[in-house]
Amino acid sequence: MQNSRKRTLPSWLSWLFVVIFLAHFSAILIHQFGKNTLPSLIVEVADRYASPWFYQNYEMFAPEPHTQINKFVYRVKSHGEWSTWKDPVYPHLQDLWSNRFGNGGDMYRIIGGIADKLYEGQHLIGFLEAPTQAQWFSLPGFLVAERFVLGQSPFATDPSLEVFQVGVLTEVHRMTEAGELRVVYVFQAYPEKVVEQ
């Protein structure tokens, strides 16, 4: 497979390619690791180069693996009665357990994303002294949760749907000093919202 007489590029051109190659990876390295060590101007230039086409986030299970997960739950009021709290992600989780190569995991992560946004919303709203209903209902997580309840949940087509409420159930894991794993659940509900007919 070798032919020693084959032509090669002029030296200047081959080195130009190498310089471009090195410049690319230098920018990517600065984008990855430069944040706390290099001047902000250099990091900004590197970030501008890397995002979005060469954006890469490799903080996988780092600096720690996740110690909590959020679950999106909701309930609805119909004919004057509240349903139990519904967990829309569980059927997808069952899919994931039964088939590692299906799309159960993808649906789990998509609906799980709603839970994370609801959780972030609870933090954001905590900074307001007296949040109004309008502020609660304009949070990005709430808007997506509302899309799900009114558009894709089993109650979406129920004409007698009066009120709905969404919430986020957080499962927190901690290791005790004795090396045992402990689990705590924290539930945070959003205000009830009347369905406009």
Partner: protein, 295 residues
């Protein structure tokens, strides 16, 4: 200096790794075909009008094209992205690809990937880079000479090693960020990771209420593998057994943790590290299978 120049010239004329790049294209395209088909089954939610995630459009100018599937007006037409992508991947698997199709594959992948960031993993980020560099995988045969052939050879080789470097970067970055935590040092990281049912199986907490010796060893082994990858991968005699450990690690991510995309993307990307002779044998076997089916 002259010796260095000789090595540099020889490296540019080298053609040994061509079967490796062809095999690499097939391996990553196969995983992408699987991933795209399973996502197409829920395509309306992933890329279409039934979206259930916070859409993200922070960019302007040409960068908007990377996030184009976040635009409400574009989402109803997501099949115009997903189906050509799938067709080009299938073409690539049977050897029908060129610099234009590879560039389009990269762009469509970027658009589809950013079209729903909720299902993105480190493997998706890596593929975005690998698919960019695979655009440079020009085919140059042994008979071709001249400036254009020399340029294509040079670009191929740079793309080839850029992929090595980018995979090494993934592991190094992942290990580097872990050094800022505690659980990767005290050996609890693996137990904590799989203690959540969505990242393992139901009832796992009843089986593993505290750390075990094998989870402790697993934690340190994975941490060490990621930390050492960027160096060890260049040492030929240990490359194979080292990658074998990585293969087992990523299979466990597929079957235990349940992140099949990430695990399979990483395993497929390992094909770039195969020895040229092994890659040639595999490619020959694949073409024999194809020929037999044709007969």
């Amino acid at each position: 200096m002259r010796r260095l120049n000789d090595i540099w010239v020889r490296w540019q004329r080298h053609l040994d790794m061509l079967p490796v790049s062809e095999l690499f294209i097939r391996a990553i395209y196969l995983t992408l075909i699987w991933s795209t088909i399973k996502l197409l089954l829920i395509g309306d939610v992933v890329w279409g009008e039934e979206w259930l995630h916070v859409r993200y459009t922070p960019f302007g100018n040409i960068d908007r094209f990377a996030m184009i599937l976040n635009e409400a007006v574009v989402r109803p037409h997501y099949l115009w992205f997903a189906l050509p992508f799938l067709a080009l991947l299938i073409g690539g698997v049977i050897g029908r690809h060129n610099v234009f199709t590879r560039a389009v594959v990269w762009y469509l992948y970027v658009a589809l990937h950013f079209g729903n960031v909720e299902i993105s993993t480190g493997g998706h980020h890596l593929y975005q880079q690998l698919l960019f560099f695979h655009i440079l995988f020009f085919r140059v045969n042994d008979q071709e000479d001249g400036m254009w052939a020399a340029a294509r050879r040079m670009l191929h080789h740079l793309g080839f090693y850029a992929i090595w470097i980018n995979i090494a970067l993934l592991y190094f970055a992942s290990a580097y960020w872990k050094t800022f935590g505690e659980m990767w040092f005290n050996g609890q990281a693996m137990l904590m990771s799989i203690s959540f049912e969505p990242y393992s199986f139901p009832g796992i907490l009843d089986l593993l209420p505290s750390n075990t010796w094998y989870l402790l060893v697993g934690t340190y082994a994975v941490f060490a593998y990621q930390l050492l990858f960027a160096v060890v991968i260049w040492i030929k005699p240990v490359r194979k057994p080292f990658l074998l450990f990585g293969l087992l690690f990523h299979l466990s991510i597929v079957f235990i943790v349940g992140l099949a995309d990430f695990g399979l993307f990483m395993i497929a990307s390992y094909s770039i590290f195969l020895a040229p002779a092994d890659a040639r044998k595999l490619m020959e076997r694949l073409s024999v299978v194809r020929l037999k089916r044709k007969q």
